[in-house]
């Protein structure tokens, strides 16, 4: 518990607080200049502005001076430049800062953007979703949690390996027998195949994986009560009678609470990122410089 709070206050809280400070007095918001290519698209400009703001925030909180990754990296750079230097690490780091190395180094830049991005996404306790919010989320985004429709069907199979050349004529005969069956179950008809049941409950995609597209299509058409086929698979020929359709549905929250919570948290992080970024963008005064 302590660590998340600490994390929030040290990182997320600072960035989030920027919104309030700047909102109170826009005039106090920082002013930055962002250089982009003359032909930069709107999206490229937006991205450049976003990064510039985040980097500026990271620097405002002195992460470019205090972050251990930045520190280690700059010291390593300095040792590369001055391999014989007798100075200790803090001195080398100070000299790197004086050279403004942190402003231009790509690793430092990536690290600061990473930390700022993580801070933007931090979820405080009061934004953790409760049951009501989860239920609302489940209802609003049913498509994300929907279970594929299933069909119950009867299945008669004729094996290619067992019947060989008589497969097609056997299939004609079987079609005739099935058409005369009425509502009776096809007990004892056809050949066995491991995993095959005379009555099954499956989704079209499961059937596609197991028997191929042709069989799945017949089932997906969901024509109730009529024997369809033969459909071809690598195993032989199949006849299908769909007897029940269980449509797609969204399970109750009790059943999928963990799944909904994970999905909602992903969304909250995105919302927070956008909210906080928008607040920062509003607070900043940005000059765009297009250079050839």
């Amino acid at each position: 518990m302590l660590r998340p709070l600490l994390h929030f206050f040290l990182i997320g809280g600072l960035l989030f607080g920027a919104k309030a400070i700047y909102a109170r007095n826009r005039a106090e918001g920082p002013e930055i200049e962002v250089r982009v290519a003359a032909d930069a698209s709107e999206a490229e400009v937006d991205n450049a502005v976003r990064e510039a703001i985040l980097l500026n925030e990271a620097r405002r909180y002195r992460w470019d001076r205090t972050d251990p990754v930045v520190y280690t990296h700059l010291v390593r750079n300095m040792r590369f430049i001055e391999p014989d230097s007798p100075d200790d690490d803090p001195t080398l780091f100070q000299r790197a800062v004086e050279m403004n190395m942190q402003a231009h180094d790509p690793i430092v830049r990536a690290r600061l953007l990473y930390r700022a991005g993580a801070a933007l996404e931090f979820v405080p306790e009061d934004r953790m979703p409760g049951r009501e919010e989860l239920e609302e989320h489940r209802r609003a985004h049913g498509d994300r949690f929907e279970r594929e429709g299933r069909l119950r069907f009867q299945h008669v199979f004729l094996s290619r390996s067992k019947r060989g050349e008589s497969l097609l004529s056997d299939a004609r005969e079987m079609r005739q027998r099935l058409s005369e069956l009425g509502d009776a179950a096809p007990t004892g008809l056809g050949d066995p195949l491991p995993g095959l049941r005379s009555e099954q409950f499956a989704t079209p995609s499961e059937l596609k994986d197991e028997y191929g597209l042709e069989l799945a299509k017949i089932v997906e058409e969901a024509i109730l009560g009529a024997w369809r086929g033969p459909a071809t698979s690598v195993y032989g020929l199949h006849f299908i009678k769909v007897i029940d359709v269980d449509p797609p549905y969204v399970p109750a929250l009790d059943v999928i609470a963990a799944e909904v919570r994970a999905d909602r948290l992903r969304e909250i992080r995105k919302e927070l990122r956008e909210e906080r970024m928008a607040a920062l963008r509003q607070a900043y005064r940005v000059q765009i410089e297009r250079s050839p």
Binding site: R3, L6, H7, L10, D67, P68, V69, T72, H73, R76, P106, I107, A110, R115, R147, E148, R150, S159, R160, S161, K162, T187, G188, G190, D191, P192, L193, P194, G195, R197, S198, Q200, F201, A202, T203, D209, E210, Y211, G212, S233, V234, Y235, G236, D246, Y249, P251, A252, V255, I256, A258, E259, R261, A262
Partner: protein, 685 residues
């Protein structure tokens, strides 16, 4: 719609046979609070899964550039695409992967040893963040890190897992009492369990089942003694016990028993051994932690905790070792044998002969000997197979899209993306575990594994069913109710046949069908092992299909031709049964030959062996680079008869280096396969 209870009403319709004792608990699969799955089937159906998956939480995956998380691994298993290393500087991936068919179940098995350590090293607020070890680790992750230095850090971390048990310890950065890493590890483990909870489909559609787990990664002297720990549900031990916490497997089992099985918290757990091929022959040695030989108590514990074993994965097969003149080998034991004896030699690609004692078929014989003297067989393993992916690609077993292992083997974290093979030639895409269960839910899947009604495949979804009994009819293969008769008259795969009730030999029925997206079947074999006094023998029977069916594969184009058996079935009676001898029987189902992944990639690549320069390729490899010309023209790939024909491998070390490569060839064409859990026969005591 809640899960239905209809299935529960029908589950009692098939009674258990008094003849077999196959741990058959079809009448007792618990119903959880969400009820039954809509497609509950008392006679069981097959579900496909992967029980060995690493994500960015594993130190080795993480250091090899894997960025995908447990959530990504579950997404992948359900059919979504994920990104693969190497990544560009801006974080965009250069490769993607997507499974062709979703899995039914999955268990993540991230290495438990450094779960907390990685977190500590990546958390700027942790006290250990600034330690030199953490700095080295983070430096090795940098985009422009030196590959050689990064590999050095990788090896340094790995060494901690190779220390002898009495010297194991957390890294120094974990601080006094290892508290920093232990505490951080608890958070990560809680996250792993949460991710499994979130991805588990508890609706009545039961589309995807997750099981929480981790890997205990003991590797003394680099001998692989790893176990995957599988929990049945969200009730888990608070600590994911690792090699540093419990350096002996007995200690691990004790912890799991005390804090899970006996804790009355609803916790259930089992452990799955793997990669016995890389154990220097130590996986099945007759020795406990204190150096004494097995006791009855130990043997019982092992039998209870470890129902199944992983027979195949990225790092090779552990079924049997091809050895001329061996009583336990057969002509098909050469499948995906990697020429290394332990983990370190695999990482360093140093050819070392594997120890035959590390292979399952030898263990089965040893196990029967222990049973004869101690009353329980410690190695009465059922069969599973898995990937051991270190790039979160759960169940990604496709031979024609192998992207590499991502842990040991060739690192792919640095740009440019692989220009030749994505991994060392001896690794392969791994396999899948199939379970026969009533429904796709945790209780049913876990119970199937516990009773060993499982089989493993080398990747394709070859479906196989096997029963053993005493009086199955000869025409059982034609019966619509094969499964009902199978259960009623005997035991399924993984079960045990008790003493012979009459004068007949046991009868086995094996029914198999090919993967609809794979190659046709060539044959079904039954592998029988038995104990004649102290003499252990093995015989392989071809019971369906035909070895000489004429099916062929063109190694240049990988086109296949020939016979086409989509399904095979046989009822087979042991012709040389002796009711006084312990025995086991497992089925091996073989596909027609197809190209191995290396051959497939070469068939699609642009390469020219006239331009091949062995020394130049070696130099390139030292720099962690390659090309298809280097890879495909290497004699070890099996496509160079111009170099290898006529090479005698009696003494490979005496050959020129190029010719020596001929003696450590992969099979350019393979026969993908399924292995069932054995059915065991126990004579009267």
């Amino acid at each position: 719609m809640a899960r239905t209870f209809l299935g529960a009403l029908t589950v009692l319709t098939v009674s258990l046979s008094a003849i077999g004792c196959g741990n058959d608990d079809r009448a007792s699969i618990p119903v959880d609070e969400f009820g039954r799955c809509a497609d509950f089937e008392p006679l069981r159906q097959v579900y496909w899964g992967d029980t060995h998956i690493h994500t960015n939480l594993s130190f080795d995956a993480n250091m090899q550039g894997t960025r995908t998380s447990p959530e990504d691994a579950y997404d992948f298993a359900r059919g979504e695409a994920i990104s693969l290393q190497p990544y560009n500087e801006d974080g965009t991936p250069t490769r993607m992967a997507q499974i062709d068919r979703p899995l039914d179940f999955a268990m993540l098995s991230d290495h438990a040893e450094f779960l907390g350590t990685l977190k500590v090293c990546l958390d700027p607020t942790s006290a250990s963040y600034d330690t030199p070890q953490c700095e080295s680790y983070r430096a090795s992750l940098e985009f422009n890190a030196d590959p050689g230095a990064a590999e050095g850090v990788f090896i340094t971390v790995n060494v901690l897992l190779s220390l002898p048990p009495q010297e194991t310890r957390y890294p120094a950065l974990c601080g006094p009492g290892d508290a920093a890493c232990l505490e951080a590890g608890l958070d990560v483990w809680a996250g792993v369990v949460d991710a499994a909870q979130s991805a588990y489909d508890r609706s009545d559609r039961c589309q995807f089942t997750t099981l929480a787990g981790y890997e205990w990664s003991a590797g003394p002297g680099s001998a692989n003694l790893h176990r995957n720990i599988m929990f049945k549900n969200e009730n888990v031990t608070a600590v994911p016990y690792n090699y540093f916490d419990e350096p002996y497997v007995e200690g691990l089992w004790d912890r799991l028993r005390e804090e899970c099985i006996d804790a009355d918290t609803g916790c259930e757990v089992l452990t799955i051994p793997h990669n016995s091929n890389l154990s220097e022959g130590r996986y099945f040695e007759n020795e406990m932690a204190n150096g004494d030989v097995f006791t009855a108590e130990y043997v019982e514990a092992r039998n209870q905790m470890e129902p199944i074993i992983e027979i195949y994965q990225h790092k090779g097969a552990s079924e049997c070792l091809p050895r001329p003149g061996s009583a336990t080998a057969d002509e098909l034991c050469g499948f995906e044998i990697i020429p290394f004896s332990n983990l370190a030699w695999t990482n360093l690609e140093r050819i070392t002969p594997p120890d035959p004692k590390g292979f399952l078929r030898v263990a089965y014989g040893e196990g029967m000997k222990h049973e004869a003297s101690l009353g329980t067989n410690p190695f009465q393993y059922g069969i599973s197979a898995a990937t051991d992916t270190h790039v979160s690609a759960s169940g990604f077993v496709s031979e024609d899209d192998f992207k590499g292992h991502g842990g040991a083997g060739q690192p792919n974290r640095f740009l440019p993306p692989p220009q030749g093979f994505p991994d060392i030639e001896y690794l392969s895409p791994g396999g899948l575990t199939a379970v026969w269960a009533e429904e796709n839910a945790r209780d049913a899947i876990f119970s199937a594994i516990r009773r060993k009604e499982t089989f493993g495949t080398s990747g394709p979804r070859i479906l196989v069913r096997m029963f053993g009994g005493w009086d199955y009819p000869e025409d059982l293969c034609s019966a619509e109710d094969l499964a009902a008769q199978g259960y009623e008259g005997g035991v399924p795969m993984g079960g045990t046949l008790g003493p012979q009730p009459g004068p007949t030999s046991p009868v086995f029925v094996v029914s198999a069908k090919q993967d609809a997206a794979g190659a046709p079947l060539q044959r079904i074999q039954i592998v029988k092992g038995w104990l004649d006094g102290d003499d252990y023998q093995v015989k392989v029977y071809n019971v369906a299909g035909d070895k000489n069916n004429g099916a062929t594969v063109n190694l240049r184009t990988c086109d296949t031709q020939g016979a086409d058996s989509a399904d095979l079935c046989a009822v087979w009676q042991d012709p040389s049964f002796d009711s006084t001898q312990r025995a086991y029987y497992y089925a091996r189902v073989l596909e027609n030959p197809t190209c191995r992944w290396t051959t497939l990639q070469c068939s699609q690549a642009d390469y020219n062996c006239n331009e091949w320069d062995f020394e130049a390729c070696k130099a390139l490899k030292m720099n962690q680079e390659s090309s298809y010309t280097c890879d495909c023209c290497d004699p070890a790939i099996g496509l160079r008869p111009d170099i290898c024909d006529g090479v005698s491998c009696d003494d490979p070390g005496a050959l020129p280096e190029i010719e020596e490569r001929c003696c450590h060839q992969v099979e350019p064409a393979i026969q993908e396969r399924a292995w069932t859990s054995p059915i065991w026969y126990q004579p009267p005591r």
